[in-house]
């Protein structure tokens, strides 16, 4: 479970995240929505433990920057994090060794599902942007983290990979993982989101629960435009 309490993050005088609090429970998928510059990526990076902030972020009861919490977090950055001189296989091997995971069956399954198996000998620098994104996703999930944080994960992916990622998110949820996704593509989250937090100018402007209702995505879109256009006018 992910718990965020009174998270505030500033860059000098600019407040990127202002006193934000919410939880993401086990088996829940929470979505961060907001226009460009709303503070979504800053929040995601703070949760991943990559930024300094004030407030509390806990992962299954551990401070998010402790080694115990690190072992439970999977982070997919907005810009694919790939090493130019490592092959696809070596990226996975590196992650499994660094996280001290012996069983690589799930990692192999991920590579198969994201069509990376036939690219196993390709170097990071030889991969297209989309392929790098797929590899970045595989690296983040290879050790079966309990909390998975995605920053704009669909950008650059082909339709097959988007479908596979959506299926995977649903599977992770059913296994009890907590998912936090930042995106501004509302239709891309249809079918698996449980809670949506709309950010405006660094603050939480609204929170909506899907309640498993199929029309909720349309309602969310309406709410999103209502809030963003209200603030924009």
């Amino acid at each position: 479970m992910l718990s965020i309490r009174n998270l505030t993050k500033s860059y000098g005088k600019t407040v990127a995240n202002n006193n934000i609090s919410f939880d993401v429970g086990e088996g829940e998928a929470a979505v961060l929505l907001g226009p460009n510059g709303a503070g979504k990526s800053t929040l995601i990076k703070s949760v991943a433990g990559l930024l300094r902030y004030s407030g509390n972020i806990e992962i299954c009861g551990y401070d998010n920057r402790s080694p115990e919490a690190r072992a439970l977090i999977g982070y997919v950055p907005e810009i694919p994090a790939v090493y130019s001189l490592l092959t696809v296989t070596e990226h996975i091997e590196f992650i499994l060794r660094a996280y001290k995971v012996q069983d690589r069956s799930f990692a192999d399954e991920l590579m198969e599902r994201f069509e990376l198996t036939d690219k196993r000998d390709k170097l990071g620098k030889e991969l297209s942007k989309g392929m790098q994104q797929k590899l970045s996703i595989c690296c983040a999930l290879a050790y079966s983290p309990r909390i998975v944080i995605f920053d704009e994960p669909m950008v650059g992916l082909d339709p097959h990979a988007i479908k596979e990622l959506k299926n995977l998110i649903s599977e992770l949820k059913s296994r009890g993982a907590s998912i936090l996704i930042s995106t501004h593509m509302i239709d891309s989250i249809e079918g698996f989101w449980d809670t949506a937090h709309i950010l405006m100018n660094g603050s939480l402007a609204a929170t909506m629960h899907s309640g498993g209702v199929p029309e909720s995505a349309q309602k969310l879109e309406d709410l999103f435009f209502e809030i963003t256009e209200q603030h924009g006018s």
């Binding site: 990559l50 490592l86 070596e90 660094a98």
Partner: protein, 524 residues
């Protein structure tokens, strides 16, 4: 109305200046560089030149070595892949406009010339010690700067022209590349033969081969060195000959590209894309990695490691693929320049090489694999204690530094007839200054990463390098006299420096270990 290309050039320059004045960090950095150069000149003006100075023509030989290294590096790469003469903004906005292709090529060349002159500024920082050793005046250092920049520009322009004119003819490119290596190789063989067969000391024998005619026959770098020689010996004819050779090459390169009517846009786009990637990486806080075009894959797999040590084994795989397993390209450059410097200054022992190569090390360490690792999220996310991750991630840097030190000082010990003790202390000294570099990176990252612009971060790096290295240097000078050592700067001094540096670096790294807990990774 002004030419659109002239408008872009002038407006860009004007906006750069405005931005420098508006942003305090950029302004501080610019003023720092100006003061550094001015300080160097003032220091040189106040210091008295010793009674025994060396033959200033040796500077021409050093210029030949440096210029040749740079020219060969530029051309070797430029003949096979497009140089970054244009940006993607040029490609998207200027290439698609109705401006003539010839005009656009001149525009690219002017931009290239500007970059070449900016890159040459470090030459001016060498004035103080060159004046002390060779009793030169300011015209020589300005000449060395001018001809260095001209050499870079000519090498870039020639390689771009060759790349465009041999488009899609790989065999021709290969032949030209072989031709280039043959010319510079022949010059090196000629100098080596002269050094073996001549009479007198090795420096005199090498200098015996470096004549104006020889320099004129070595394309580009030789002409640059001839210009410097002309300034040193007050022979305007040599300067005119060098300038005329450069002018002829530049005009020929322009004429060849423009008259050929080749549609070169496609050929230069890959260079623009590379530049765009580098710029984007810089904005994202990444360090652009100089990855070989054709990487030999070799064994696929890391093979070792479990936990934090995996970082080290991964670095070794990356080094193998980058063809820099135990020594980097910058390391090879340091070793070669250290050897040249050591041969020239052998009478003073390798202490001068130690000072010179430590100075270079401050800059080259910024490109180490540990620094590259800090730009990816994994090192922060791996669930291991931060100090343990830090030690394993910096081990590769220390190993390559040790290899560099061995290659540098062991051969020089024979040249300068230094004792085994002094050689060993210099090896430890280099490793310890490498540790200081790593520690400063970590410290600056902990204190300021993400909160100050990158330019100011570099300035902080240099400042804290001096601060953290100061205790070792001071104690290295102060302690030996207490034990009765008469020498101001001896192996004993360097040994003390090494120990203090290692302790200082370890302490700084330990207290900064939190940087791997919260890095402010790649933001703002």
């Amino acid at each position: 109305m002004k030419s659109p290309l002239l408008y872009v050039q002038l407006t860009t320059a004007k906006n750069e200046l405005k931005e420098t004045l508006k942003k305090p960090a950029k302004l501080i950095l610019s003023l720092f560089l100006v003061f550094l150069i001015a300080g160097n000149f003032i220091l040189a003006g106040f210091s008295s030149v010793g009674d025994e100075t060396r033959d200033p023509c040796e500077i021409a030989a050093m210029a030949l070595a440096l210029y040749t290294f740079m020219a060969v590096t530029v051309m070797s790469s430029g003949f096979t892949k497009s140089a970054a003469m244009f940006t993607m903004a040029d490609v998207n906005l200027i290439f698609t406009s109705p401006v003539s292709k010839a005009g656009v090529f001149v525009y690219g060349a002017v931009k290239q010339m500007r970059s070449s002159f900016v890159l040459g500024f470090f030459i001016l920082l060498q004035y103080s010690w060159l004046r002390d050793s060779y009793a030169i005046d300011v015209t020589v250092i300005i000449s060395a700067f001018f001809f260095y920049s001209l050499t870079l520009f000519a090498a870039n322009l020639l390689s771009m022209a060759v790349y465009i004119l041999t488009s899609a003819r790989e065999n021709v490119r290969k032949m030209i590349r072989i031709g280039m290596w043959t010319v510079y190789g022949a010059a090196a063989v000629y100098m080596a033969a002269g050094a073996i067969a001549g009479s007198g000391g090795i420096v005199e024998r090498i200098m015996g081969t470096v004549t104006p005619l020889f320099l004129l026959l070595v394309p580009i770098s030789g002409w640059g060195a001839l210009g410097v020689w002309g300034t040193i010996s007050s022979e305007p004819l040599f300067i005119i000959m060098a300038s005329a050779a450069f002018a002829a090459l530049i005009i020929a390169a322009f004429a060849a590209v423009i008259r050929s009517g080749t549609d070169y846009y496609e050929d230069v786009i890959s260079g623009a894309e590379t530049l765009q990637t580098i710029e984007q990486d810089r904005k994202d806080g990444n360090i652009a990695e100089n990855v070989p075009k054709n990487v030999k894959l070799g064994k696929n797999g890391i093979g070792k490691g479990f936990g934090a040590d995996t970082l080290f084994y991964k670095h070794m795989v990356e080094n193998r693929r980058a063809r820099t397993k135990y020594i980097s390209t910058a390391g090879i450059f340091t070793v070669l320049s250290g050897w040249i410097f050591g041969v020239l200054m052998r009478d003073g022992g390798i202490i001068f090489v130690f000072v010179f190569t430590t100075y270079i090390q401050i800059f080259t360490m910024l490109m180490g694999r540990f620094n590259k690792e800090l730009t990816k999220p994994y090192i922060y996310l791996i669930p291991e204690p931060p100090f343990k991750k830090m030690l394993w991630a910096s081990l590769e840097t220390l190993i390559t530094t040790a290899v560099e030190a061995l290659l540098l000082y062991v051969p020089l010990a024979f040249v300068a007839s230094d004792s085994a003790f002094i050689t060993v202390t210099f090896i430890f000294g280099r490793i310890s200054f490498g540790m200081i570099s790593v520690a400063v990176n970590v410290f600056v990252g902990k204190m300021w990463s993400g909160t100050v612009p990158k330019a100011l971060e570099s300035l902080l790096y240099f400042s804290f390098y001096l601060i953290f290295a100061a205790p070792g240097v001071l104690l290295g000078f102060l302690i030996p006299p207490i034990f009765g050592s008469a020498e101001i700067f001896s192996g004993f001094s360097v040994l003390i420096m090494s120990v203090v540096n290692a302790c200082a670096a370890a302490a700084v790294m330990y207290f900064s270990r939190d940087v791997l807990v919260c890095p402010e990774f790649g933001d703002k």
